[in-house]
Symmetry: C2
Subunit: 401 residues, 2 copies
């Protein structure tokens, strides 16, 4: 392990983790930070219960999409006033895709890749069908995105880190390539935000969206986030024109006028209990160095690859071997992958299975240690060696619940 | 007061209400039911914290939009499998409006009225601008909706109860009129669900949406709901085609295929903490008779009108005098309405102000009593008589927080 300024032994103590579990699925749902339950309780009883409708002003509820958005912005290299915490990722995809297409009215093609998370593709397909104006979603292999950028492409929309393999696109390079072709670049940061430093402004990304419930630990179904580069704030128009994104929501005008800046991307009333959990979870990052997160993440992933390859030669690495093009997860291809993962979960190592044959392990330095990595590899070896996934007691459900 | 089977003295004890407050703004944000804090705490600690990713299956999180949706369905006369609890009201407007326009491809006009809540109008304007295909939002006065129904109208979209005046549309009659004109009918139930019995299926409504945080007491920004009449389930297509609404979300197909039934109206990951609060709040209704809610609501409103008109002749009733065409609120027009409401709030009577001159009082029988109504009228009289709204101590903020 390379030394870090951040004390990762200390950060681990800030989570409530169940005993006898090594949790390598924080890239699907982050673990529970200790302050969250108390914060949500306080908002329910001391704010909603006591202030009632006055809570919108007295406790700043009305501002939470911006205040929490700016906190997320610090983790993804986005200037204040360019990020909102709001809605879910799919809905935010629709907003930025709708806005981006209107900024390139002469082009009809949305370019994405087959490694993108399906909901991004579905939202594009739904938008195209709604528009019924000849728009097309063009899908290529992840390594072919750059070559597919030509003067038909209105928008390149890709997820930076592949949810199955952990393969990572080069944001700066691809964004420039998109711009050189006259296209806009939308980045999905679902597996990036909180996993390593992201530099949206520095890469000149046009729009971005991402999850609150993975590496940001905001809880199941936590509010997502949306980013729009400042250069588009004057000209973009969200297709989801809700009253919270109106220039003067409490004037109750009959006509929509967009709010200035990123506030236009608000739609309806913010979910205050969920926002409270998200905000409390972000407290974790106050004394964490993002470069340290990346250093430790790479060390954990490299160690896991070395341990598993030494112990389990039957598994094939599905993630890139080069850490420079990999996110914060390691995936292997495995025969009977689903059953293997069920047996692993029953033995206390929680990862994830992704069809058809991927077993996937996420590494979140805030609560995963060197010892966890070695122990997880040992249990994986043991599970494969004794074909524990063949035994009926492992086939039903995790014994550790 | 007319007698009721429901014990409204008992229902009031099931809320945590601050002392020295008469809360007549449950039509803006419902009060806190007692079981909510404990339920949310349990979901945070015992489900998220302990089960982690396994919570989606082990605790039925994945089903919450449907299970909670069906509970709401019981309050709005909707058959099981026709309602989802999901997203916010504005986003649900977009879904059903987008779906409805596709079901009437030869027509271009969305008909609504000037008493509709602005966000519904904004979402329609945003959709029309996105489509850029000649669609138009036509606004008429509420009493002119029926006459405006002709063969140009694709969709009539109205809110049943006017958020300012409490004026109530006749759902059965207007829906039939819309159908007679070949149009579809979308109903916004923001001020209806939980306020009185709604009969969506019986009225043959096509689509409906509404709030979780008003009369349903789900908390600030609670998840909203969406209804689609069974007759449209096979042919409707939501414009927000997210992975949660896919026929097989965990197949991770590259192509969208809509789920059957109302499940298509899901988009992204459900906000589980907020869903838990909503679900707990709905427990209140288990032994409440909805006809009783209406009986008591009318009695409370009639009493308030009588008391206020006797005490405050300078106020003009803005709500319909006929209870048959009024929801569960009473509004008056008042000079200096904003200042009057601020003074009232400072004196412990929480209502709401809506520009330009409306002071609005919501009556929720679950926690508002006869005594509350008389006392609120007394305080209103006192506030006006002594021009308390002119005094500086009332102009800053409520003293009762």
């Amino acid at each position: 392990m390379r030394p870090t300024k951040t004390d990762f032994t200390a950060t681990k103590t800030r989570f409530n983790l169940p005993e006898n579990v090594i949790y390598l699925d924080g890239n699907s749902l982050g673990a529970l930070p200790k302050g969250v339950a108390e914060r949500v309780q306080r908002v329910v009883n001391d704010q909603w219960g006591t202030s009632l409708i006055r809570g919108w002003n007295d406790h700043g509820w009305i501002h939470t999409p911006s205040t929490i958005g700016d906190r997320i912005g610090q983790l993804i290299g986005a200037a204040p006033g360019t990020v909102l915490c709001t809605d879910n990722t799919s809905i935010n995809v629709f907003k930025v895709l709708g806005a981006a297409l209107k900024l390139r009215p002469d082009r009809k093609v949305i370019l994405s890749d087959t490694g993108n998370f399906p909901t991004d593709l579905y939202m594009a397909q739904g938008l195209n069908q709604l528009l019924d104006a000849g728009h097309e979603l063009k899908l290529v292999a992840p390594e072919e995105v750059e070559a597919a950028l030509d003067d038909t492409i209105a928008v390149m929309m890709v997820t930076e880190v592949d949810y199955r393999t952990g393969r990572r696109h080069d944001m700066k390079h691809l964004t420039k390539a998109a711009h050189d072709a006259g296209a806009l670049a939308i980045w999905d940061l679902a597996h990036s935000a909180g996993a390593f430093p992201v530099k949206l402004d520095a890469c000149d990304a046009d729009f971005a969206i991402g999850c609150g419930y993975k590496y940001l630990n905001g809880g199941p179904g936590a509010p997502a986030f949306v980013y729009a580069n400042k250069k588009h704030h004057e000209t973009m128009r969200t297709p989801l024109a809700g009253w919270w994104g109106h220039a003067a929501p409490f004037d109750f005008d009959l006509n929509y006028r967009p709010a200035s800046g990123i506030d236009q991307m608000r739609v309806g009333t913010a979910p205050i209990l969920a926002m409270a959990a998200m905000d409390a979870a972000l407290d974790l990052w106050d004394d964490v160095d993002l470069e340290d997160i990346r250093t430790r993440s790479v060390d954990l992933c490299e160690l896991f690859i070395a341990e598993v390859e030494a112990r389990c030669p039957e598994l094939e690495l599905a993630s890139p071997r080069d850490a420079n093009v990999r996110g914060s997860q390691v995936s292997f291809r495995s025969q009977n992958g689903y059953a293997v993962m069920q047996a692993l979960i029953a033995a206390g190592v929680i990862g994830d299975f992704r069809a058809p044959d991927i077993i996937r392990f996420g590494f979140t330095p805030l609560y995963i240690s060197l010892e966890d990595v070695v122990r997880a590899a040992e249990i994986l070896e043991d599970t494969l060696k004794f074909r524990k996934w063949d035994k009926p007691e492992y086939s039903v459900r995790a014994a550790v619940t």
